[in-house]
Amino acid sequence: MNNLTLAQAMAWVQAGQLLVAAGVATAKTIRAWITGNHGELSEAQLDEICDLIAAGAAAHKAIADGDAGR
């Protein structure tokens, strides 16, 4: 993820693909969360969320680097 170019990062953000990807991963997570009465998440679900955080951060880092002239 750290090798995302600005164009790739913006494509993800603008097209909502990052959110779609997040939705795919989190739909299961959130559904389990709700149906489980806000219960405990599995290690795999927590891993999904951590990966999504890292992906979102990488996309925004690429955008910031573009603005900073890097």
Partner: protein
């Protein structure tokens, strides 16, 4: 970003459950920090140039709001550098938290992330003291990062 907002809302409500494991609470609060920081980044770019093509690098600030806030090209570039550092630190924190288990020593990257976004907030407070929305969003990111750090035992 509406989906993110829903996820954040659910995450915040769920994160309030006292019985949840520390790792889950930490992951949820880091996610809240991430979403707040993304919102802050987008707000700053919009303040710099509301009309620019957001798919391209923004290197020139224009418009009444940027002028009123004294958001110059140089200040925007400085903030972009800080946002880049913050997102890089956040990515490392997320990977470290993924590997972390309750009872283990606190990952150093979480303390680093907390420090870097505090630096970002300090820079905005000093350079753009009237950018209330931007400041509020970065403060939210800082608060959630501090919560994450506390949950994993960062001193």
């Amino acid at each position: 970003m509406k989906v993110s907002g829903i996820v954040l809302t659910l995450a915040l409500f769920s994160g309030a459950c006292a019985s949840l494991p520390a790792k889950q609470k930490a992951v949820v609060s880091l996610q809240a920090s991430e979403l707040a920081l993304e919102g802050a980044h987008e707000t700053e770019r919009n303040l710099c140039s509301p009309t620019a093509d957001k798919t391209q690098p923004i290197t020139h600030c224009e418009g009444v709001t940027a002028a009123t806030l004294q958001l110059t090209d140089a200040r925007h570039q400085q903030l972009a550098t800080l946002f880049s550092r913050a997102f890089e630190a956040e990515g490392k924190a997320a990977q470290a938290l993924k590997a972390w288990q309750a009872g283990e020593p606190a990952p150093a990257s979480l303390a680093e992330y907390r420090k870097v976004i505090q630096d970002t907030l300090d820079a905005v407070l000093a350079g753009l003291p009237n950018a209330a929305t931007l400041i509020a969003k970065i403060k939210a990111a800082v608060d959630s990062a501090a919560q994450t750090a506390a949950l994993v035992g960062v001193k």
